[in-house]
């Protein structure tokens, strides 16, 4: 009787809270409509479009060379990989094969991009969970890569180094040495990441068993990249559908089966080691050759459909080009990894606390322009 009275007095009510569009843990303009009961999440409803630029519509009026420049505004932390995806799709349509030199350089720069992206993610996952130091450690190491990009590609973030048929220009004479210097540096610093954060008791308690995603759900929701691989879904496009020079290097696909936020964290740490190993295998053997296979100034793809999948830092990126034989594509679709990964968020955070939602989102590593496009 007394218990019932207490229950009546302590009765809670469901209500709505806006998380975002300017919430620091969203890392951009993502608005989540939370239905909560006390601190328990009942429903997460993402409201998108705050940075929607309709890149797909813009592609329909642009030439194939111009499209490349739009793609690094999607997932700006995998800009080189996005560029590469479009270039590979256009090259597939033109039926041209780029030289080995281009393939190897693209692969090295892709892996450097992945490293820089994961470094930034590692910095902000600490920050989201209350450990500010990680941010400075990560940015110290990320500067090395950005400097390499600046020297070779001319830009630090949106590189536009790829063009259909090859590369904009050859690598800088310092490129090989600076990449090697970076590898020596980062191989001593990555264990520091583990010592600082991975083993931390607070960090472990915030992430272990939080936001658990099963393998079946990962496949059904199309959750790829570290999110899928943390749940045991072997979805690495570099392994399943190799492109560029990934068929000539040996690397392990980072797979964990726990499916929680800590597993997704471990996948990315392991991927950083594997990326360094890939660069190690290639950096001393960049073949000689042309950096550009000549294409016509105005590229016209033959009539048909062309699809290219690549592994961006956040998962699978798909580029679908439908051509009617003119100089503009008839339809372009970008299957972005963040969009599919976001769809699983509601499913795995129902019943969790708001703080767990922040931890889960940090382990998902959302880049909002990639979701909105």
């Amino acid at each position: 009787m007394v218990e019932k009275e207490i229950e009546n007095k302590m009765k809670t009510e469901e209500y709505f809270v806006n998380m975002g569009p300017q919430h620091p843990a969203a890392h951009g303009v993502l608005r989540l409509l939370l239905t909560i009961d006390g601190e328990i999440i009942k429903n997460v409803d993402p409201d998108l479009g705050y940075i929607h630029r309709s890149i797909e519509k813009m592609c329909e009026r642009d030439s194939y060379q111009q499209i490349v420049h739009l793609t690094d505004r999607m997932d700006y932390l995998s800009s080189h990989i996005n560029n590469e995806a479009v270039c590979l799709a256009v090259e597939k349509g033109l039926d041209i094969e780029v030289s080995d030199r281009v393939k190897v350089i693209r692969t090295i720069v892709s892996e450097l991009t992945r490293l820089a992206s994961h470094q930034l993610w590692w910095g902000v996952i600490g920050m989201d969970l209350g450990a500010l130091t990680t941010y400075f450690y990560a940015f110290r190491d990320r500067e090395y890569i950005n400097d390499i990009f600046e020297e070779t590609c001319g830009a630090r973030l949106t590189m536009n180094y790829n063009i259909p048929g090859g590369l904009m220009f050859d690598i800088h004479p310092n490129f090989v040495n600076r990449v090697k210097e970076f590898l020596v540096h980062f191989k001593t610093k990555l264990p520091e990441y583990d010592r600082l954060l991975t083993g931390n008791v607070i960090f472990q308690k915030r992430t272990k068993g939080v936001g658990v995603l099963t393998k079946e759900d990962a496949i059904s929701y199309g959750a790829t990249g570290p999110v899928g691989r943390g749940s045991g879904f072997a979805c690495d496009v570099r392994k399943t559908h190799p492109y560029s020079a990934y068929d000539r290097v040996e690397f392990k696909e980072a797979l964990f089966t726990e499916g929680d936020s800590l597993a997704r964290y471990k996948v990315r740490i392991m991927e950083m080691w594997e990326s360094m190993s890939i660069i190690d295998q290639l950096i001393d053997n960049i073949p000689e050759g042309d950096i550009k296979t000549p294409t016509k100034a105005v590229i016209k793809l033959p009539k048909g459909e062309f699809y290219q999948r690549v592994e961006a830092a956040r998962g699978e990126l798909g580029v679908y080009i439908n051509s009617t034989g003119t100089k503009n594509p008839y339809r372009v679709k970008f299957r972005s990894s963040g969009f599919s990964n976001l769809s699983v968020l509601n499913h795995i955070t129902k019943g969790a606390k708001i703080a767990d939602l922040v931890a889960t989102m940090a382990s998902f590593d959302f880049v909002i322009p990639d979701i909105d496009r």
Partner: protein, 153 residues
């Protein structure tokens, strides 16, 4: 599995579907919209097909027809297929939702609704996803006109 084998198994459904590999690297299956859900269900559950991973869902405006393209992969058996469905009703295009088969379709179908105005039966939460609820028209359709914001060359 080879495309011919895939085609034979799918023909076994007894649905009289249209197949083509022209202008595409994949085997394309064109499904009438009335049979879409049933065929998709079988593509996923048939033990020889097991298409469990919908890796891309694209809305399409072919000029006279609107439709959706599904890119499917089997994570276990490693084969790929493309399913296409069309509707010639531009006023009120309606297709069946496949989000009970592949959960990822829920968000992608919302995107298709937002840009093409294709409605999906049995979708749990069909709404404007990127654009505002009062947006007029369907921007990715070929007959969409927006004189203020579109640059036409």
């Amino acid at each position: 599995m080879k495309n011919e084998d895939l085609q034979n198994i799918i023909n076994g459904f007894g649905k009289n579907l249209e197949f083509t590999t022209e202008e595409s690297e994949f085997l394309n299956v064109i499904v009438p919209k009335e049979q879409l859900h049933e065929v998709c269900e079988q593509l996923k559950t048939n033990p020889d097909l097991k298409f469990d991973y919908l890796y891309c869902l694209t809305g399409m405006d072919w000029g006279s027809d609107l439709g959706v393209i599904y890119h499917l992969e089997s994570t276990e058996l490693k084969h790929l297929i493309v399913v296409k469905v069309k509707t010639d009703d531009r006023e009120n295009p309606t297709l069946d939702s496949v989000c009970d088969i592949w959960r990822t379709a829920e968000f992608h179908e919302m995107e298709v609704y937002d840009f093409f105005g294709i409605k999906f039966n049995n979708h749990p939460n069909l709404k404007r996803l990127f654009l505002t609820p009062d947006w007029d028209g369907w921007p990715l359709r070929k007959d969409y006109v927006d004189e203020a914001n579109m640059i036409i060359k």
